[in-house]
Symmetry: C2
Subunit: 129 residues, 2 copies
């Protein structure tokens, strides 16, 4: 997928109605009429959204002029996931930092508890209540 | 993240220069001047892109008027990955179908090989060359 293709996929996804159409098509193929029904939109408006999705390679449409069912093409969504996954290290670092902080808080708490109820190496420590 | 917030993240990502800016910021924070250098763009053009990224919550900028370093905020990218991952089942189904097909081809090939060089249960089979 070229940079321009990825750009047109992201542009196509930058609309809640188009994302809702993809969610519907994930359940199975549907005609323009079936897609228009839940959105209370004109067929013209839905057709415009479908053209954007089709140009981005996110859907294909049947050849039959009467029925022309729309079908989701998942490959560009896999590319979107892979693109975002490049940054996983960064968002996990944030969680690591939060984890470190929580662990520090916990350890401070433990030290406090140790001072309150010191336990020697020979002491039996009950797990549970 | 609301549907509108996700839309503005996708819209911000629908541009190769903005994605390149994010890739640069994944290496560490940078000033507008540092970001402009590799793109042979005016500071004005880069500033426009930064505003789009900032409004989408993908970057934050320092308060110091002289330096104002830009820093990547990875959380929206995690949301993009999670959104796309909803469709993993669909793109893996495609691969499963391809796997099934390749396995069938392979099994047909094995059957052919068995007919050419039958191996009994007691035969020693050399692994490797």
């Amino acid at each position: 997928m070229t940079a321009d293709e990825l750009s047109s996929v992201f542009a196509a996804l930058a609309d809640p109605t188009r994302r809702a159409i993809l969610a519907r098509l994930a359940q199975g193929e549907a005609s323009v009429n079936e897609l228009a029904a839940p959105f209370a939109m004109t067929l013209q408006a839905v057709s415009k959204h479908l053209k954007v999705l089709e140009r981005a390679g996110l859907i294909v449409r049947g050849r039959d002029a009467q029925w022309r069912p729309c079908r989701l093409v998942p490959a560009p969504l896999r590319d979107v996931a892979a693109w975002a996954e490049q940054y996983r290290r960064l968002w996990e670092q944030r969680y690591d930092k939060l984890d470190d902080y929580l662990r520090e808080l916990e350890e401070d708490g433990d030290e406090q508890a140790d001072r309150d109820h010191p336990v020697g190496p020979g002491d039996r420590v009950d797990e549970g209540v």
